[in-house]
Amino acid sequence: MSLSPEVLEPVPVADAAPAPKGVVGRSPGQLAWMRLRRDRTAMISGCTLLFLMLVALAAPLIEVLYGVGPHDEFKHLLTRRGSIPLGYAGGVSADHWFGIEPGTGRDIFIRMVYGLRTSIFIALASAIVTAGLGVTAGILAGYLGGWVDTVISWITDFALALPFLIFALAVMRPVELRFYGPREEVPTWFRVAVLIAIFAAFGWTSTARLVRGQVISLREREFIEAARASGAGLGHILFRQLLPNLWAPILVSFSLAVPAYVTGEAALSFLGIGIVDPTPDFGAMIFRSIAYLQTDPAYVFFPGITIFALVLAFNLFGDALRDALDPKSSR
């Protein structure tokens, strides 16, 4: 996709003040930013995301201010039989804003703050690794063509033929068994790393496909020919000439990959495969809450609604970004 023709389009002057300078030159990036600024959905979802990310980053600070840690247990606030929180809506009170967990008696609010951190960290890290791998493979396949393209395209098609969830689910245990014995405790950082690796291994193919298509249409253009004629090396053409023309589709696919990974991570943790209990995580929390649906229905709502809001905000922002970067596309 080329953004250059849009520079020629008449640029609506935002301020009514008489501009003696005449036409102001704006880069495609500035134009996209202006369109994004004017989009109300983009602004609201963007601010929500910023807020949620700040909360996630500031988790230890919030813990200090709130005065309760994610592993503190308040068993005295549970009923003696059945361990259900006392009080209304799962034990909501001034000390425990979202109530406490049935069974363990841990505070839900602070666990969600930390869960947000787990979720956003894994999703962003996976999306970054995916984009890096996918862009490199896609550019190489598209520009070099020949057997490189054949091999990469075949791997892409093959990876798309694998059912993701069941494969991700199945590969986790063998990978753990490679490095740890069957009775050993698997550390959380290792699980996080494996999750990111799984997402990257499955996710890079769609980015690669997208980038490859773009590169194929770009590689015959004059500026590439000019670069080649003036003796530019392969690395220069790939990353200095081609890459700057690809940032729009890459950014869009990146922003839509993040919510997919948030969902994927929560799904795996829900199945008890990803992040497991003492570590705070939305998926694992919802899985626990299913068992308490009858006795403590409030428990499912807090993590359920938060993850919904997070994914919705990411999706809306991704869509708005696409509209801003490529106004011709209609959803």
Binding site: D157, F158, A161, L162, P163, F164, L165, I166, F167, L169, A170, V171, M172, R173, P174, V175, L177, R178, F179, G181, P182, P259, T263, A266, A267, F270, L271, G272, I273, G283, I286, F287, S289, I290, L293, Q294, P297, V300, G304, I307, F308, V311, L312, N315, L316, S330, R331
Partner: protein, 328 residues
């Protein structure tokens, strides 16, 4: 058409071969010692060594793979401890369940089929209908509601929707029984009432995605010349939209629907876990938790076979509908 078919079949078998090699390596070569993962609770070194012998884990990897593949196509003898002779589609023996893997699969496969097929019919009808409606009534309240619905659905998590449905219909209103599976042959009414929540949850999420796709496709088709020509010719709106435009608009949806159904048949893991129904997906989860490697490998293979077959069916359908595909 015959050439196209042969080419596709060749590439399908190549993909399946690659899947089988990758999953075999994943489950039998990746772990330090595959046996430790599939050992039942009380196992000592002696028992472990016996299991290792019976599974042939001391043989070279290539031989193990060959034996496994031979089991699938012609059957193999697994030895007395593993239930003796294992008939043709032999996928090994599960120490955790103490039965042949194919026996377990035969039991859980109808469950997954019963969840996926009605749900797929529901989500296609709902999704395409809603998408059409909102494209034809573009800009009206109906359109905006439909867009809101598809945005919500696309960001909702299946387990959360499932939990809400359970909470409302089973625990509060008490109009739907706790989800369970009965064979449709035994009691069709019980079959439906036990699975209806799973159908609704799946259909809600998928129809949101389909509504969005169908709307975009329909809008694109409606702006094409042949639609204008048909209208200008004086054809009734109903004929133009219902026959000409719809047919052109849903062809791309066929691809996506085929792949989604294929993937869902490979295990509606989350649906089954949420509602506690023992289908292929939940069996896979249990196998993973219990470290039952032959079982995991079998579920992964089956899921991949479903996806690959769905791919093939979609391609053939496409080639039948659109002759241009065959030529390229």
């Amino acid at each position: 058409m015959v050439r196209f078919l042969i080419k596709r079949l060749l590439s399908v078998s190549l993909t399946l071969f690659a899947v089988s090699v990758v999953s075999f390596l994943m489950f039998f070569a990746l772990p330090r010692d595959p046996v430790t993962g599939m050992c039942p609770k009380n196992c000592n070194a002696e028992r472990l060594e016996r299991v290792r012998q019976e599974l042939g884990l001391n043989d070279p990897k290539v031989e193990q793979y060959a034996a496994y593949m031979k089991g699938i196509f012609v059957g193999r003898d697994l030895g007395s401890a593993q239930g003796g002779k294992c008939e043709a589609p032999c996928l090994g023996y599960s120490y955790v369940n103490s039965e042949a893997v194919t026996d377990t699969l035969g039991r859980v496969l109808p469950v997954t089929l019963s969840i996926v097929i009605p749900a797929a019919i529901l989500w296609l009808l709902l999704g395409v209908g809603l998408g059409m409606l909102s494209a034809l009534r573009r800009g009206t309240l109906i359109d905006r509601l439909a867009i809101g619905f598809s945005l919500t659905g696309a960001s909702m998590q299946l387990y959360f929707v499932g939990a809400l449905l359970l909470l409302i219909f089973t625990y509060q209103l008490k109009i739907v029984p706790v989800p369970h599976y009965t064979s449709i042959l035994d009691n069709p009414l019980d079959w439906a009432s036990g699975l209806v929540l799973a159908w609704i949850a799946l259909a809600f999420l998928f129809s949101a995605i389909y509504a969005r796709l169908a709307r975009a496709q329909m809008l694109e088709t409606l702006s094409e010349d042949f639609v204008r020509t048909a209208r200008a010719k004086g054809l009734a709106k109903r004929t133009v939209y219902g026959r000409h435009a719809l047919r052109a608009a849903i062809t791309p949806l066929v691809t996506i629907a085929g792949l989604d159904v294929g993937a869902a048949l490979g295990g509606t893991v989350i649906t089954e876990t949420t509602f506690g129904i023992q289908g292929l997906g939940r069996t896979a989860v249990y196998a993973v938790r219990g470290g039952d490697l032959p079982m995991i490998m079998a579920t992964v293979l089956i899921a991949a076979v479903f996806v690959v077959i769905a791919n093939l069916v979609v391609d053939l359908l496409y080639a039948a509908i659109d002759p241009r595909v065959r030529l390229s």
